[in-house]
């Protein structure tokens, strides 16, 4: 019962954004996806959530091929995501931001609001319910975006750089939240992050992408000990310098 990519390739014209990528996320598991800029991390998420059709290979959800499903169909099938730029509805209050997703998933408005309220409460953000999304502080905006993605009890949650721009303390809070989402809700999480420390602290399994290919896969020790990973990161640092 997993969400998986099987030998997925994505080509934009002649440019190969992903080549032969195979990875999977199980319910309750937190998988990290790291790699230098342009490695293909967001493309992976886009393929997994129906935003991008794979050129080759398959997307599998619970044993069924779902490669052709559109974004909202994947969302209905239980695969939710967040975006790098939170993308909340600024003029709506926090509760309506969540309720809107519930309604989009086919819930009645009152049911959606009830679930939204419960979810905000579970995340310790009940006080934000009637605040306009546009005026929220950055970290709250990120957490509301995660809450919105959790509406309708998805089985999988894909987080696209949720800690970008956060302080160490804020990132640690976020790590705790992701841990709870996996442990208490049983949601399988795929965490894309630049903050490697954060990834290593919450992920049981880490996948490293570089140039659209998986160069390493494994637990914390395997990643830290990997020569390929070191070279990929050092390589980009050297080029940057």
């Amino acid at each position: 019962m997993v969400l998986a990519l099987e030998q997925v390739g994505v080509a934009f014209g002649g440019f190969r954004a992903l080549t032969d990528v195979t990875l999977s996320v199980a319910p309750g598991q937190v998988v990290g996806l790291i790699g230098p800029n342009g490695a293909g991390k967001t493309t992976c998420v886009n393929v997994l959530t129906g935003f991008q059709r794979p050129t080759h290979g398959k997307v599998i959800l619970q044993g069924r091929e779902v490669s052709g499903l559109a974004a909202h169909e994947m969302r209905r099938a239980g695969v939710a995501r967040t975006f790098q730029a939170g993308r909340l509805f600024g003029g709506l209050d926090v509760l309506d931001n969540l309720a809107c997703t519930g309604v989009g998933l086919g819930l009645r408005r009152s049911v959606a609001e009830h679930e939204a309220s419960a979810l905000l409460n579970w995340m310790g953000m009940a006080a934000l319910e009637s605040r306009a999304a546009a005026g929220l502080p950055y970290t709250d905006e990120r957490r509301v975006a995660i809450a919105r993605a959790l509406m309708g009890k998805p089985r999988f949650l894909l987080l696209d750089e949720p800690a970008a721009g956060m302080s160490e303390a804020e990132a640690a809070d976020l790590a705790a939240l992701i841990g709870r989402i996996a442990a208490e809700l049983g949601v399988g999480c795929l965490l894309i992050e630049h903050n490697v420390g954060l990834v290593l602290s919450v992920c049981t399994q880490v996948v490293v992408l570089d140039g659209g290919r998986i160069i390493e896969k494994g637990d914390r020790e395997a990643i830290l000990g990997s020569r390929a990973v070191r070279e990929a990161y050092l390589g980009t640092y050297a080029e940057a310098a």
């Binding site: 974004a71 509805f89 809107c100 989009g104 009645r108 546009a134």
Partner: protein, 302 residues
């Protein structure tokens, strides 16, 4: 300020507000400035009379009793707008806003010419609810009954729309779609239903404006939607494109300003009332180019 003038201002402003809402509702969900809105109004007017190019208008639907006629004309307006969306704008869903706008112009011209073919180009006298021009004494003011009805109707429409947007499922979806249509769609919001809903509401509001215009002026003219469409468009720009409350406020303000200028300007300057009015509009836009109530989502974010 006399009580009379206040009623004039409210009635004119109210009609402009309803017309502006018709524009703003569609712009909100589709980024389409629907220049065919004026022709929706004209079509709703001509629906009242029997199709003929004779100079003398014969009331057709217009003869029905008001409790039947009003819902019928509103439904016709809504139906026309929904049909226009399904037949024209749905095919242009991914077109640029400019292409959409040109498309709406084309639709407007086509509708106007259709009316010309069926009804002829001459304005026709239409007597709808003539008894409503009867004045009513309110304190020191003598107010035509129609004006009171218009003011109450506008207030009821605005209240109903506010409740719909705030408390219903479609309302929530429409607000979300107006903020970020792509995102709403990705979250599973029913795009077609939201857009059809916005068009239906907009068409019904065009029909409201049509009924009021006919009752007020007693004329059916193929060109009659154009002038009010222009005012409504200006009101949506002044109010802030995409903001419904902004469109309502600016529609009210423009109507009120128009009534006040009509009463307050010296007699020699009165023929140039609109020049003063639009001078004021330009001034507002110089100070706030994004409009008075620009929605949060329209601002660039840092």
């Amino acid at each position: 300020m006399s009580l009379q003038l206040l009623f004039d201002a409210l009635a004119l402003g109210g009609i402009y507000a309803i017309a502006a809402l018709g524009i703003a509702l569609i712009f909100g969900v589709m980024r389409l400035v629907n220049f065919a809105h004026g022709q929706f109004i004209a079509c709703a007017v001509f629906a009242l009379i029997v199709p003929s190019t004779d100079a003398l208008a014969v009331l057709g639907l217009g003869r029905l009793p008001a409790p039947v006629l009003i819902p019928l004309i509103l439904a016709l307006g809504a139906g026309l707008a929904v049909a226009a969306e399904a037949l024209v704008f749905r095919l242009m869903r991914n077109a640029s806003p400019v292409a959409l706008m040109v498309g709406s112009f084309a639709l407007g011209v086509a509708l106007q010419n259709l009316l010309l073919v069926v009804y002829g180009g001459r304005p026709k006298a239409v007597s709808l609810w003539a008894e409503l021009s009867h004045p009513v004494q309110i304190a020191s003011a003598e107010v035509p009954l129609l004006q009171l009805i218009v003011i109450v109707t506008v207030a009821m429409i605005l209240a109903a729309l506010a409740i719909m947007l705030r408390h219903t499922r479609l309302g929530l979806e429409m607000r979300a779609a107006a903020e970020d249509f792509t995102m709403a769609r990705m979250l599973g919001v029913r795009a077609n239903r939201v857009i059809s809903g916005a068009f239906a509401l907009s068409g019904a509001m065009a029909a409201v404006v049509a009924l009021v215009l006919v009752a007020q002026t007693g004329v059916a003219d193929v060109r009659m939607g154009g002038q009010i469409m222009l005012v409504a468009f200006i009101a949506t720009v002044v109010g802030g494109m995409g903001s419904l409350s902004g469109a309502v406020a600016a529609g009210l303000a423009i109507g009120a300003a128009s009534a006040f200028l009509q009463a307050g300007l010296p007699a020699d300057a009165r023929p140039f009332r609109d020049a003063f009015l639009y001078g004021g509009v330009i001034l507002v836009l110089l100070i706030r180019p994004q409009g008075l109530f620009a929605p949060v989502g329209a601002k660039p974010r840092v």
